[in-house]
């Protein structure tokens, strides 16, 4: 039988109390990652020397009676687009094989390590974050731990799998259009995509500047909330906390279409437990279209020099999408950004009707690696470009979202996406706690 891994908060308490050393925790993480191998652990690089030196420093602080911080000795990983000093930030692309070494750590890594955490490695992703499957021609396909013949989801699939397998209790990842929410849903972990601009992006390789956010993946809700607090460096919350009973509402129409059979029953049961209140979010299909236009235009513009130099260095699906993106008229890009401002203003009124809205994180179970497709409007289409149909509109709106696994004995994990008004992350955490305490959501044990 598999045992639940320790949460980051419990690990740190044990390190601070001298019950276990940071070096032991880092060593255990390396052993587990090596035992699983790259495809199943989610890691692309293990930073053994750096991590053991850092862990030894944490242990020395404990031995000296000092407090290394709230994440004392906690091992964590990062998607391979966060700068790690002395390493190449690959962003999952062959085009960056000979890029310069990063001169310093990204700000998010520095903040976590200042709180005592220990970076143990970098994690796999779709090339430049452009995909929902983590099938990478250069760095391999990351497998879903609940069924290794299935995808982990993406783009930050390695970061989700590292947590789902219990190699690390936490990963830092990114979310442009669902990059961490889709794999969180498909691998059964908790994923926070904060409000646009909430967490520091310095030292994170960009993809779509107007949508990219830093996010967190974890197995324990309090761990994820703690990491957000650390990364915000004491910044005041943007909104006054909402008190009293939380009202939930299910989003319909766009968010109810294309749901697979395996998701529909559990989703309906979850909805029934929350009072069967539903809402429309008009124009969601336009929001998805606008997000796609923005991503294509900004992503292509960012990579234009490399596309001009040698387009064949890119993976074909990414190359073809970016070359097409280079041909978009600026008027269409600006129209997409205008629509974004317009719908953001309208949305503020939506949250006068319900505090927390919810949707599936993905349409159903993770697709197979052998045939990574899904059904959309009755057609079979590539999962690589479509698994984020329920996350994309929320990204455009800039709203915070938290993915939780539905509790139940399912063949594969099924994730729910909770959404609140901008700046209301504390409300999302309170709602998630309520759902976990009610037994409606639970993180499955790592598969044996």
């Amino acid at each position: 039988m598999s045992l639940a891994p320790l949460s980051a908060i419990v690990m740190a308490a044990k390190v601070r109390g001298g019950d276990i050393s940071a070096v032991q925790l880092a060593t255990l993480a390396f052993e587990k990652a090596e035992q699983l191998g790259g495809e199943c652990s989610g890691f692309t690089r293990l930073l053994r020397r750096r991590a053991l030196a850092r862990a030894a420093a944490v242990d020395k602080l404990v031995e000296a009676g000092l407090d290394p911080g709230p994440l004392a000795g906690v091992p964590f990983g990062v998607a391979d687009l966060f700068d790690v000093a002395g390493e190449i930030t690959t962003a999952g692309s062959r085009t960056r094989r000979n890029a310069a070494f990063a001169s310093r750590d990204s700000k998010a890594i520095a903040l976590l390590e200042a709180a005592g955490a220990v970076l143990v490695g970098t994690q796999n992703m779709d090339e430049f974050g452009y995909g929902f499957v983590t099938m990478n021609a250069e760095y391999g396909t990351t497998r879903n731990p609940h069924d290794p013949s299935r995808v982990a989801g993406g783009a930050a699939g390695g970061s989700a799998v590292a947590v789902a397998t219990g190699v690390v209790p936490l990963s830092l990842a990114f979310d442009t259009n669902g990059s961490l929410r889709v794999p969180a849903g498909l691998t059964g972990v908790i994923g926070l995509k904060p409000t646009y601009g909430d967490l520091p992006r310095e030292g994170m390789y960009p993809f779509v500047e107007s949508l990219d956010v830093v996010g967190v993946l974890g197995r324990d809700l309090d761990d994820v909330a703690l990491v957000r607090t650390i990364l915000r460096e004491g910044a005041p919350e943007r909104q006054e906390p909402l008190r009293g009973e939380i009202s939930f509402g299910r989003l319909m129409s766009w968010f109810d279409d294309n749901i697979s059979e395996e998701m529909r029953g559990p989703l309906d049961a979850f909805w029934s437990r929350l009072g069967r209140i539903s809402f429309e979010l008009p124009h969601s299909e336009i929001a998805r279209a606008a997000a796609s236009v923005i991503i294509a235009a900004e992503g292509a513009s960012l990579h234009r020099p490399a596309l001009e130099a040698d387009p064949m260095q890119f993976e074909p699906p990414v190359r073809d999408r970016m070359l097409a993106g280079l041909l978009l008229p600026s008027d269409d890009y600006l129209a997409a950004q205008r629509f974004r401002s317009w719908i953001q203003a309208r949305l503020r009124r939506q949250f006068e009707l319900a505090d927390v809205l919810f949707t599936p994180a993905a349409p159903g179970f993770a697709p197979t690696i052998a045939d990574p497709v899904m059904t959309f409007e009755g057609k079979t289409i590539p999962a690589r470009s479509h698994l984020g149909i329920y996350t994309q509109p929320i990204s455009l709106m800039g709203l915070p979202a938290l993915v939780l696994p539905l509790a139940g004995d399912f063949a594969m994990p099924l994730g729910i996406q909770l959404i609140s008004a901008a700046g209301h992350e504390p409300l999302l955490f309170r709602a998630a706690r309520q759902l976990i305490d009610k037994g409606l959501c639970a993180v499955p044990l790592p598969p044996e």
């Binding site: 796609s292 236009v293 596309l307 205008r338």
Partner: protein, 68 residues
């Protein structure tokens, strides 16, 4: 010659028009890439059509404000 059929409705791209557009944009790619680029361009054009069908007055919202 293909022209816009009605206001806001774009003519569908073809491999021939794609070659021209890529040349005008100053990018080139081997011939083998063109079918993939074309299919992505068609998808993007669908998204653009969805967007254009929503008649938002350009003065009613900023295109330069990203914060939610």
């Amino acid at each position: 010659m293909l022209v816009a059929e009605t206001s806001g409705k774009a003519a569908p791209p073809s491999e021939g028009s794609l070659r021209t557009r890529m040349a005008e944009a100053g990018v080139s790619a081997p011939e083998e890439c063109l079918p993939g680029v074309l299919s992505n361009l068609i998808v993007l054009q669908d998204h653009v059509a969805t967007l254009r069908a929503f008649a938002l007055d350009p003065r009613s919202a900023s295109a330069m404000r990203f914060e939610a």
